[in-house]
Symmetry: C2
Subunit: 148 residues, 2 copies
DNA sequence: TCAAAAAAAGATATGGGACTCCTTAATGGG
DNA sequence: CCCATTAAGGAGTCCCATATCTTTTTTTGA
């Protein structure tokens, strides 16, 4: 559904939300270990998220790292998708028409549109804080089991 | 959602269903013009669909081309996805875990699973014939408007 | 003020999807 | 039987997402 970059962005953001605060930041090494992502590549993605100035923040130097404000935790998943340039992924036509629209629908559209609406609603409603809480309260994961 | 190849495969199959029969086959040039896809690339995709021996058939030579049997028209969209190797696209985890499962769910899973189920159901229920009929009866398209 | 720590930035692979082109094989009509 | 027609097959190009490595900049704390 999403690119690797976006998947890492989502997982990293959730982890940062879980483990950091303005007083206690988390470093790149810890993050990429926790979400099982390539460290250098994750660095690039975190840079992108940070430059956006809305989602995460960072500070270099000793005891530096990444963190997220309580306010930013209320942003919906959609905000991350937007920064990652996948805002329109869900407006893509199933059959590959230029765009999925009521005006020029493909043969799948009349049935797909309801599912699409649910996806849009979900990514718009679910906040970073929600995802963080899910981890606290339920048996959910943001990392794969150790492979080999 | 799907790769370009798969999108072309779906559109091409629909067009072939619409315009061909065992007696009247349609050629590559006509197909790629009708669905607005690169001819040479489309040829590769049609080869793949043909080799599967389930979806479409073809005959070379004068008056040759591609066609689909009435029986094959009853195959679900899912069958095309399978041939194109995108069978598991819908079992991908939103956050990029190895697989989307109840056993090891990500924080999006509890809500996403219902949407996923609808997608799976749709691709399993909707047949090639259904899509063909949609074109006949409704205002739907399998090609973009001419661009410059 | 200096050194260590950590992120930022930049430069450089790599693999695969998307697409092209050329040659080969099969078919049917005359 | 030959030739035009059309699909099949194979080799190769291009670009971008993914990923790595190195160097620079910023910050902290001793
Ligand atoms: S137009 Fe194709 S899915 Fe909406
Ligand atoms: S496990 Fe992530 S979507 Fe199902």
């Amino acid at each position: 559904m999403f690119s690797k970059s976006t998947e890492y962005a989502l997982r990293a953001t959730i982890y940062i939300a879980q483990k950091s605060s303005e007083e206690h930041k988390v470093g790149l090494a810890e993050i990429s270990a926790a979400i099982d992502s390539p460290p250098s590549f994750t660095a690039k993605i975190l840079q992108a998220l940070r430059k956006d100035n809305k989602i995460i923040r960072s500070v270099p130097g000793p005891n530096g790292g990444f963190y997220i404000t309580e306010k930013a935790k209320n942003l919906p998943v959609h905000a991350i998708l937007k920064v990652m340039g996948e805002d329109d992924v869900l407006n893509k036509c199933v059959l590959g028409l230029d765009k999925c629209s009521e005006a020029k629908p493909c043969p799948m559209h009349s049935e797909y549109k309801f599912i699409k609406a649910q996806l849009l609603e979900l990514f718009d409603r679910k906040t970073i804080l929600d995802l963080e809480n899910d981890i606290k309260t339920g048996e959910v994961f943001i990392k794969n089991s150790r492979k080999k």
